[in-house]
Symmetry: C2
Subunit: 460 residues, 2 copies
């Protein structure tokens, strides 16, 4: 006789085509949260998600916020345990649009060079595809058993890609409603296409924008060139000064709250044997520019960074324009680790900039949204159960890894709701998240959905 | 009895309103040469200019080129001498458009803070207003005497603001038609609103565009940050490296062909007493960032420069996007002096960049359009005559000055046509050329027109 889990897994397999149709419908909604022009699309995505939750028998509500809505759905069957699943329905901007092979919001099937079938669209991996692995698992369990092994609260937000500014204010008054035994987040990746993973550390982040102002207008570079300060030059010198020749960040105090991982963790990392060729080769690079004294895996997981995400100043159109720009701007993000505090890092950067801007020029540093880094103890009981469930699905023992990315909500779950979080996702390094031609492997979607069936059963 | 000159001057005065109407019509044509979207407007401006020349009795022709047309008109009365007047009908781009108080191609009258009346529009000073001072002078002389004291060839091009790429190929086959005794160029400025000037030196220029390529796509700054090369960082380091702490350019060989001006020239410059406060104060700056060891006037006239005119890379839209950009670009121009060769300077820059790009990244430097610097001997007889004519009009002895700007045509007149050039213009430092709210003083337009009447008479 088939177990309830086997029946649900069979329903996942037989319903895969319909599940993909639902995913494609979700992917067609251009819910770019950072761009005010897409506000309506974000509402559409929230409404679509709420309708899916309702169809699964959850009480679903769309909560308005100062930004985009938060969707919350829940079951109340009196099960022994409750999980809180968190995901986001918003996506990154799509520029440069001309590098997309097909329009970003017209999902299609594709194939990788080594023959893996994929779903191509903005949000395919980050995070719509991953969110639907969970919802489709619920659907299969509900369809076969008429019930779920645990009670479920699903919370989907619409501002993850711009730092979740409205979420803290939402969590506090809804803390009661969101109470659970454990939080589940499906916004992370696998070690490789065959090896499932549980992410036990995340870097924090602080975003900010620096603008240097020089003359009160653009100047003719012939008439003023050689005398007038050029904000692009000043900004370039500041950016150049941030790193020393060994790849370390030179901002005073930057490393004060960084801790060294335990020796056994470093030893396990060393065993994973991550190489520059293996990690950077696929994106066309050959060597790491990070801190020379560190292993590559440390550079991307346990060490903090400074990165310019975008920069502009002066004339950027076709042809040439012989001006000295009146200002220049850099969009900057820091990735934080251990006990680094976003506000303190931003303040240190402001002081670093202030020391480098000539007295007759001015600068602004935007307020800066941020979150701290996060670490789960690798021996937590739910982690051990989820790990066994993943091994049953994939036939390979999962690895516990760190992620260099940032998921601010995880720290807030701990701080505001007292909740631990399991980070389990099925993304791959070649998913092109935040880039043109984003994809999600069909296997990630299919086996990801099956994995959640097993995990929810294991957590019951 | 009034002389012919007096009659023409009176005609300039009484016809000023009609002259301004013609100028406004010229300014309404959005002839931005660097932007392919304005190609038709450039043709319109050429046709308008040709119709004006024809109305003055010149044989006028619009010559097509690989780029925008060259307009040539001429009289052939058998006068003892012929002048070749050069100007351009194209204008700079208008961005940032939001900083214009009124639309750039809707000319209007304005007033400076100290009460000078102005004409405000893109091209008001550079170069449509200046070009019309000459044409309106011809009109007044023709209207009052029925003839001009010299034969005149007028050549107006449409690509000055993007480096005049089509002009050399035009000049060679038309050398016969363009033969003259002296060239006149009205694209320069006055020392101050009361002091007319003849420009006896110009800096050369070379434009180029540098792009750094890193990964083969934009990367997630969390997943790759700390390891992957960031082209914005690389480009910033290159730009930062170009100047040393004393404001000197560090590119090897950059100063090889720079010569020192004679001691008496430097002494005359010192007497002009140009200060950072006086020169940079009006644009909101207080101190020069140029070579510490040089007088300010040298920095902007006789010393070469490196300037980033525009830079961009990564995400530049609203909000934030956490990527490591796959590339970054800087639009660069060098101002050249003395014997510096544009091609050699570009080559030196390419070597400088090559030494600073990591081996797994690549770069491109665009071909680079350029022109050499230019110098007129201050004792040339035509210069002495023009100087006396200017003094008669303004009541102040003109100063001979250098300009930090570049007018490539001047070198080509010498090289291809064997012609010397007098650079006489009526622009002012506060004209905002190449910037929002460009203006031309009404006095510059009116007394500039009167000045040409006197100069043409003097050159006869």
């Amino acid at each position: 006789m088939m177990t309830a889990v086997d029946q649900a897994l069979q329903a996942v397999d037989s319903g895969l085509d319909v599940s993909l149709e639902r995913l494609f419908a979700f992917l067609r909604i251009p819910s770019i949260s950072t761009d005010p022009a897409h506000k309506a699309a974000c509402h559409d995505a929230a409404a679509w998600a709420a309708s899916q939750l309702a169809a699964l028998g959850l009480t679903a509500q769309v909560h308005e916020t100062a930004g985009h809505p938060v969707v919350v759905g829940r079951t109340d069957t009196g099960a022994a345990r409750r999980v809180l699943f968190y995901g986001h329905y918003d996506v990154q901007p799509v520029d440069p649009l001309n590098l997309w092979q097909t329009p970003p919001f017209e999902p299609r099937f594709g194939e990788t060079a080594d023959g893996r079938r994929t779903i191509v669209a903005r949000g395919a991996a980050d995070d719509k595809g991953q969110v639907l692995t969970f919802l489709e698992a619920l659907r299969a369990m509900k369809a076969t058993s008429g019930r779920l092994p645990v009670d479920v609260t699903v919370m989907l937000e619409g501002e993850e890609e711009c730092g979740s500014p409205s979420l803290p204010a939402f969590l506090a008054p809804h803390a009661g409603e969101l109470k659970a035994d454990i939080a589940l987040v499906c916004d992370t990746g696998m070690w490789d296409p065959a090896t499932p993973s549980i992410t036990t550390s995340l870097r924090g982040i602080v975003h900010t924008e620096l603008t240097i102002h020089g003359a009160n207008r653009d100047l003719h570079s012939g008439l003023y060139g050689g005398a007038a300060a050029n904000p692009v030059h000043i900004l370039s010198r500041i950016i150049a000064d941030v790193h020393d020749a060994e790849g370390r960040v030179t901002i005073p105090g930057f490393y004060d709250d960084v801790r060294e991982p335990p020796a056994e963790v470093r030893a396990r990392w060393a065993e994973l044997g991550l190489t520059a060729d293996g990690f950077l080769g696929p994106v066309g690079l050959a060597r790491s520019v990070g801190e020379n004294a560190r292993m590559l895996i440390e550079q991307i997981q346990s060490r903090p960074t400074f990165e310019v995400n975008g920069m502009y100043g002066g004339y950027t159109g076709a042809g040439s324009k012989t001006i000295i720009p009146s200002r220049a701007t850099a969009k900057i993000s820091f990735r934080l680790v251990a006990d680094q505090d976003p506000a303190r890092i931003r303040d240190a950067f402001v002081a670093f900039v202030a020391a480098r801007v000539p007295p007759d020029c001015t600068f602004e540093v935007s307020k800066g949204e941020g979150s701290r880094a996060f670490l789960v103890p690798p021996d937590s009981p739910d982690l051990v159960k989820a790990s066994a469930a993943l091994e049953a699905e994939w036939g390979v023992k999962p690895v516990t890894i760190g992620s260099g990315g940032s998921i601010p909500i995880v720290g807030q779950f701990k701080a505001l709701l007292g909740l631990d979080t399991l980070l389990i996702g099925f993304g791959l390094d070649d998913d092109r998240v935040h880039a043109p031609n984003e994809k999600y492997d069909l296997t990630s979607f299919h086996k990801g959905t099956r994995s959640w069936v097993r995990i929810l059963d294991a957590l019951a």
